[in-house]
Point group: C2
Chain length 331, copies 2
């Protein structure tokens, strides 16, 4: 394996090219980056850290790790309705991490940042005796006063989710051999969903016009809908049968219904959960179509609770389902 380059070589060889498209990065040669924020816009800032062996598998391909560390941050911007503008990367590299791993990682960042139309503008690169630790801080813009919040949901609002839920958790289970798939295409799809989440920025930017609240699904559908419920001070009911599943996930669930825990509590989906007043329902389909994102209604806001707020998962008969050893079952 190639010898590990030093800090300055790393920056020159792998990261300066990722900053070349943004004048404010100053080519990663100065003490900080300079960013313009247009008049009338607010800056939206989010930071997420991924640790090897904790948030991703040491065996994950470097390009997938790059895609993920950018996507989890862009997903937070999407949940605020912000348009992505730039990001910083602070990386702590293990001393024995091969240079070609870093090259693959930089290649994955290039693909991901081109897809999101943003550039690297700064950061830090240090050595660590511990696991690879990656922090991205993502910066976006939103019309001042117009950001989507977790706290705006009201009784009567409908609850929607983008994409499909549970794929990433099943993909992780397949990679760790906790789960088996008969079908190679299903396996490849689910692993891809784990490795390369697609942040829903196009949708999020459109939701600011009419959604009452939003959050992205990182901890799991029930947990994150719960965060939204708590911040809004409302109760939410989700119809389990309406939660959108991919064909691959349906195939696995048909053979092993106990995997439902992966669907509702698995996390790593990086889809958006959002609430919409009844008066604006016709705008959801337009936003979905304009952003090329599938969107599904999965429930409703059932009541005002003040400072608390909770999510109930209901079966087809409207009965409460309960979490049980990682799965969900009828009472």
């Amino acid at each position: 394996m190639p010898e590990r380059p030093g800090e300055f070589d790393l920056i020159n060889d792998f990261f300066s090219p990722l900053a070349a498209g943004h004048a404010g990065s100053l080519g990663l040669t100065d003490d900080a980056a300079l960013l313009a924020v247009p008049d009338g816009k607010e800056l939206v800032v989010t930071a997420d850290t991924l640790v090897a062996g904790v948030h991703f598998l040491e065996t994950d391909p470097p390009a997938a790790v790059a895609q993920k560390v950018l996507a989890v941050n862009l997903s937070d911007l999407a949940a605020m309705g912000a348009s992505p503008h730039a990001y910083t990367l602070a990386a702590a590299w293990p001393r024995d991490l091969p240079g070609d791993w870093i090259a693959g990682f930089a290649g994955g960042l290039k693909t991901a940042q081109e897809s999101a139309e943003i550039q690297l503008v700064g950061g830090d690169t240090v050595a660590t005796p511990g696991p690879l630790t990656l922090n991205v801080t993502a910066l976006g813009h939103v019309d001042a006063g117009n950001a989507l919040r977790r706290s705006g949901a009201n009784p009567g609002d409908r609850v929607f989710v983008s994409g499909t839920i549970g794929d990433a958790a099943l993909g992780l289970g397949l990679l760790t051999d906790e789960i088996q798939a008969d079908n190679e295409a299903d396996r490849a799809f689910l692993v891809q969903r784990y490795h390369a989440p697609e942040p829903r920025n196009g949708l999020g930017q459109r939701l600011v016009e009419f959604a009452s609240a939003a959050i992205d699904v990182s901890d799991g559908l029930i947990a994150d809908a719960g965060h939204l419920a708590k911040q809004s001070g409302v109760d939410i009911a989700i119809d389990a049968d309406r939660v959108p599943l991919s064909a691959a996930t349906r195939h696995l669930l048909d053979g092993a219904p106990a995997l439902s825990g992966h669907i509702f509590a698995g996390g790593d989906d990086y889809e958006l959960v959002f609430t919409v007043p009844e008066t604006a329902l016709q705008l959801v389909a337009e936003a979905a179509a304009a952003s090329g994102t599938e969107v599904t209604e999965i429930g409703s806001v059932t009541g005002k609770t003040g400072s608390r707020g909770a999510v109930r998962l209901l079966d087809a008969k409207g009965n409460l389902m309960k979490s049980d050893k990682g799965g969900y079952r009828h009472f």
Copy 2:
């Protein structure tokens, strides 16, 4: 030792109070923070990561670690002439780090952020099987187009440095028993300079009016002056005898002249090195007085070199000094 709180308790107990003063932090309860950037200002963004055992000692007091992780970032803002506005903290905590360590760390952050008049606005907190890893991203403002850069030095400019140089490197040497001090007050002073660097933001914000280039000293005086020289495409001569030393550092050097390597190459000073055109020299003293920062002229920009640039350290007779096993000696 108290049991380690979970992520949400950590945020509630220790970090939400640090965000209470900034409405845009949204109480650390949403997906991202919202920041206003005033018209006519540019946003200045910098990120630095500290790893336990690499960038600070595992035995350093938690409040000192907090002070340092904020100060190293504020120092980057100072070097750009920016006024600090807010920061994010992304922390990867070892599972066995006691809760009272984190409490001490949060207390240190409180002191440091109050001193800098800024607030925490977001971030992330995760677990790691490796060493404590702390990333701060600091955000500041500067008049658009007016940021201090490393690249503006010109032949004839004078070179200045703030504060005193070498204290922190000697403080580290004392903590690791590489160096001994006879005098307890000297030792305490130098250790404090290592533990609690003072970012020079008041000075930096005034330098934008007349300095031609600036950088902060993190890698060492010669190395960082070298970065400035390279980015400006100039040669710089520094008079070794004019480099400002604290009384404590002079005491140690008197007993052990070989420690000069700690002065010129030691790093962790977080002082500013900056260049000033001859026409603006009278403004240096005014900026120093107004910001309560000592400033010393240590050399000059001697010539234009195009894409290269280097620093020469000269003795009292104007002869080149050379680095030798960590120390500096006359040829």
